[in-house]
Amino acid sequence: MLSSLLFLLFIGTAEAEEVGTFSSVKTNEPAPFNGFLFDKYASSDIIIFRETARRECDLQMSHQLGLQANRYKLEIRDLKIDYDSLNDEYKLIRENKDREIAALQEELKRYSSKKPGWWFAAGAAIGVAGTAALAVQLTK
C-alpha cells in the first residue's frame, strides 16, 4: 500500500503535471488529411481512457450496488425486528388476556352460587311474603 502510494507520488511528480496538447491540421500541411494532432500525453490519455473505462465503470457499479445491497439488508433486518417485536407483543398480550380471563372466571366461580335453585326459591318466598305483608298493611 505504502509502496504503491510512493510510486504514485513519483509518477505524479514526473508525469501527471504534463498536460496533453492537441492542434488541428489540414491536408498536406504536413498531414495527409484534415484532422487533429495530439501530442504523446494526450494520445496516451485517450488510449488509457478507452482501456480503463470499462474497469472504472465496473468498479463504480459494484460499489453502488454494494451500497444499495447494504441499505436493503439494513431495511430487511429492521423489518424483521419489527415483525418479531409485533409477534412477541401479540403473544404477550394474548397470554396476559388469557390469564386475566382465567382469573376473572375464577373470581366469578367463587361468588357464583353453588345451589341456584335454593337461592331462587328463597328469593321468591321473600318476595311473596313481602308482597303479602304489604297487601295486609294496605288493606287494614
Binding site: I11, Y41, N96
Partner: protein, 125 residues
C-alpha cells in the same frame, strides 16, 4: 320474653327496614370487594403486559443497534475496498501513461496497433 316479642311485633316495620338496610350494606360491600378483586386481576395483567413490553422494547433497541453497527461496518468495508480499487486503477493508469508516453519514441508501432485495436481506426502514413 313476651315483652320483647310484643316490642318486635309493634315495631316490626322499623326492624325490617333496619335489617334490609343492613343486608343492602353488606351486599354493596361484598359487590365492591368483588369488583376490587376483578380490578386487581386486570391491573396485574396490565402490569405484566407493561413489563413484557418494556423487555421487548429493550431487546429491540439492542437488536437495532447491532443491525446498525453491522450496516456501518459493511459500509466502511465497502468504502475502503472501493478506495483501494480506485487507487490501484489510478496507479495502473499512471504506469500505462508513462509506458505509452515512452513508447512514442521507443515503440511507436505498438502504440499504432493499440489505437487500431481499441478504436478500429485506420492508420495512414
Amino acid at each position: 320474653m313476651n315483652k320483647a316479642l310484643s316490642v318486635v311485633l309493634a315495631n316490626w316495620k322499623e326492624i325490617l327496614i333496619v335489617l334490609l338496610m343492613g343486608g343492602l350494606l353488606l351486599k354493596t360491600h361484598s359487590d365492591y370487594k368483588k369488583l376490587e378483586r376483578a380490578y386487581e386481576a386486570t391491573q396485574t395483567s396490565l402490569q405484566n403486559q407493561i413489563e413484557g413490553m418494556k423487555q421487548i422494547q429493550q431487546r429491540d433497541a439492542i437488536r437495532r443497534e447491532e443491525s446498525l453497527d453491522e450496516y456501518r461496518k459493511t459500509l466502511e468495508e465497502l468504502t475502503e475496498n472501493y478506495e483501494e480499487n480506485k487507487h490501484q486503477l489510478e496507479v495502473l493508469k499512471s504506469v500505462n501513461r508513462k509506458k505509452y508516453v515512452g513508447n512514442f519514441t521507443d515503440n511507436q508501432d505498438e502504440l499504432i496497433e493499440k489505437i487500431k485495436t481499441l478504436y478500429g481506426f485506420e492508420y495512414v502514413k
